[in-house]
């Protein structure tokens, strides 16, 4: 009895093998670094893709460790021809990737095969994946930082506008006044900031520098001209908030989210990827009335730091990609971009404009409220030294932590940063 069952199973398995060989299903090996709440959503999208392409294209996905481990592995595997067929890549890492020669160009022919073009993306996003007029990745999303806020606490402090947004978003003085009003109404930390992680605060600081028209890198020089002064203004403003007890001190990432979700911090500047955390908690009835908006304009003009998750095709040394494989890869990328409405539930703003223009997206909250900020985005400087987990992060972080927590003078920090960055 048992023997017969085994024989039957073996027959079915053999038949399956034969069948798949006959259909010549193309397997696309996929690597990503999406381990959090967005990873769960990506897995859903991959299985949807596989279901829609049964027998034709199949994605074989692996999730690796985010950050430096991922990029080190990509570099080493591409060098020996063992890289995947497609992978997620941060747009900010593209300049470094080009010096490492690990990416294939996405040619005009590829774009037309995918049915995508530059007009489908925000100019800043398109620029972020371009170098010398050529493109090296297809943007899936932009993920900026936003201001999360607790409506209940703001209302109690009289700082909630009639539109349901926080008051005092127009200037540094106004925003500081809002924070002070929150403090006076008994809130422990008006602003929850990741003050223990300088590399995280880089995003906020870079945004505020850009609000003054400042640039980190011009040509080969860092903080040239009055850019140093603009960084100093930013650090002084943020340090002032710490000194006045308006923002949390020495708080690391998980603690910041915990301070906000527990109602100890009334507002928080964090990435849009925390949106699922809030929506999930709210669904379970464990969260207050909350919202998320574009960063306040604390200087001259609105500006927000963003990066982009994009798709890239690795340059496998000594291994040519077949035409069939390439068109399967392009199909994967194109499908993911065109079906990225679901990706928006992870908080990220889909890069493909027809999705963000759709009625379904406009009904999504708070996504629809903050997504207009894509008009005011700034990406990392285009340098092999920039990008997530890059050397600039390390230098900045080392000076930001003591400065933001009131241990170091902003002017001294700018001097030190200038010296170390230019020594890289």
């Amino acid at each position: 009895m048992r023997l017969r069952r085994i024989a039957a199973t073996a027959l079915v398995a053999a038949g399956g093998l034969w069948a798949s060989a006959a259909f010549a299903e193309e397997t696309v090996v996929w690597w990503d670094f999406l381990g959090g709440g967005d990873g769960v959503r990506m897995k859903q999208m991959i299985s949807d893709f596989n279901a829609a392409h049964a027998g034709k294209v199949k994605i074989d996905a692996t999730t690796l460790e985010w950050g430096l481990p991922f990029y080190a592995k990509v570099q080493t595997s591409a060098a020996v021809g063992e890289a995947p067929d497609v992978m997620t890549y941060h747009a900010s890492r593209i300049p470094l990737a080009l010096t490492q020669d690990v990416l294939q160009e996405i040619t005009p022919d590829d774009w037309s095969k995918m049915g995508l073009s530059s007009s489908d993306f925000a100019p800043a996003t398109w620029d972020a994946v371009s170098s010398d007029g050529k493109q090296y990745a297809v943007p899936l999303d932009t993920h900026p930082i936003v201001l999360y806020y607790n409506r209940d606490l703001l209302k109690k402090a009289g700082m909630l506008g009639d539109d349901g947004r926080p008051k005092g978003m127009g200037s540094g003085a106004e925003f500081t006044a809002t924070l002070k009003a929150l403090k006076d109404s008994g809130v422990e930390f008006p602003l929850g900031s990741v003050t223990a992680s300088g590399d995280f605060m880089f995003r906020t600081i870079y945004s505020f520098m850009c609000q003054q028209g400042g640039e980190l890198q011009t040509g080969d020089e860092f903080l040239a001209g009055d850019n140093g002064q603009k960084l100093q203004n930013t650090l002084a403003l943020l340090q002032g908030w710490t000194n006045d007890g308006l923002q949390s001190k020495y708080t690391d990432y998980p603690a910041t989210v915990a301070l906000f979700t527990s109602g100890k911090a009334a507002m928080m500047i964090n990435g849009v990827w925390e949106v699922p955390t809030m929506t999930d908690l709210a669904k379970q009835g464990k969260l207050f009335d909350w919202g998320a908006v574009e960063l306040p304009v604390v200087f001259d003009k609105p500006c927000t730091y963003a990066d982009s998750h994009s798709f890239a095709i690795p340059k496998n040394q000594g291994k040519e990609m077949s035409a069939e494989k390439r068109s399967a890869v392009l199909e994967v990328i194109s499908w993911m971009d065109k079906n990225s409405l679901f990706w928006a539930t992870a908080g990220h703003i889909p890069a493909y404009k027809p999705v963000t223009d759709s009625a379904e997206y406009k009904a999504m909250e708070p996504n629809a409220t903050y997504s207009p900020l894509t008009a005011n985005m700034i990406f990392d400087p285009k340098s092999p030294l920039a990008g997530i987990a890059g050397p600039i992060f390390g230098v900045m972080s080392t000076y930001y932590v003591p400065t933001l927590n009131g241990e170091m003078d902003p002017a001294a920090a700018v001097e030190g940063i200038k010296e170390e960055l230019n020594a890289l």
Binding site: L68, T99, S197, A255, P384, A389, P391, G394, S397, P402
Partner: protein, 294 residues
């Protein structure tokens, strides 16, 4: 009995061949390569062009390298001798216990050693967390202002040194305990008959007879701590990595973050030489002390 020397050698060669092959492939060959690329401007992967001693000459003027060197030596100072002394004290205490109780206490002290470094990091990171850590509540209770331990340049190294000792002491305790057991009880009995005090017994019997073990523990600790990386890397994530720079971290940063294989190799060679020099020096020092005693 007559023996065929030649076939003996053949058998020996066959038996050590697998080890030798692996050793040559994954240790000797990479080491030679490391020396070679330290004289080039090679990226992390691929070849570079010959640069002579450029990479080494630059180290002389490199503030980050100097900081890394200083932090590494500071860390060695904070861990090697204190760690060895603490392990010795605990081993002396444990050796006074007997039976199941001894096994239990020993297991408790050994437990941290079996934890992976990531778990050790998470445990202490949450304990020392500025907002929610248990340690901070203790400080509050004592009326001392909270200290951002892993984010302050002053407290970082001592804190990581403490965590390292907590984590690795178990192994040293085990070595000391083994050493203590090899001391014949007759000697202690004789000392007791001579009315020797506890301190005298320790100074004249235990300590001299434990010397070989102490030398071993010190050497292991020294080499291990010069190569410090994991804990420093984990604890300074997002914090102040460049203030906490140590040599292996610097090698990692140059190679994997900045894609400069040649310059990374130059730092690695420097560390290699440092470890060799320091351990040979320590070995000679211990031998010299041994001779003088005799």
């Amino acid at each position: 009995m007559l023996k065929d020397r030649r076939s003996d050698i053949l058998v020996a060669l066959v038996l050590i061949a697998p080890f030798l092959a692996i050793y040559l492939l994954v240790f000797v060959y990479p080491t030679i390569q490391m020396f070679r690329i330290s004289f080039t401007d090679a990226p992390l992967i691929g070849a570079g062009s010959w640069k002579g001693i450029d990479n080494y000459a630059r180290l002389d003027n490199d503030p980050m390298f100097r900081r890394a060197l200083w932090n590494t030596l500071y860390f060695v100072l904070l861990t090697v001798i204190p760690g060895t002394l603490i392990a010795l004290l605990i081993a002396l205490g444990v050796s006074r216990l007997a039976g199941r109780l001894q096994a239990l206490v020993l297991a408790l002290f050994f437990l941290p050693y079996i934890l992976p470094v990531s778990v050790v990091y998470l445990l202490w990171d949450w304990t020392l967390n500025f907002q929610f850590g248990i340690a901070m509540h203790v400080l509050d209770w004592l009326g001392i202002a909270r200290i951002p331990v892993t984010k302050s340049a002053t407290w970082f190294m001592p804190a990581v040194a403490w965590v390292t000792i907590w984590w690795t002491a178990g192994f040293s305790i085990l070595l000391f305990l083994a050493g203590l057991r090899t001391i014949p009880t007759e000697i202690y009995e004789a000392a007791a008959l001579d009315n020797a005090s506890r301190w005298t017994t320790f100074r004249k019997i235990t300590w001299p007879l434990l010397r070989p073990v102490s030398a071993l523990v010190l050497t292991i600790q020294l080499i291990l701590q010069l190569k410090i990386f994991d804990q420093v890397y984990l604890f300074s994530q997002g914090g102040r990595p460049n203030d906490n720079m140590v040599l292996v971290y610097y090698v990692f940063q140059r190679a994997f973050q900045q894609n400069q294989g040649g310059r990374a190799a130059a730092v690695a060679v420097t560390l290699f030489v440092l470890v060799v020099v320091v351990s040979v020096f320590q070995f000679q020092l211990l031998r010299f002390a041994e001779r003088r005693r005799q």
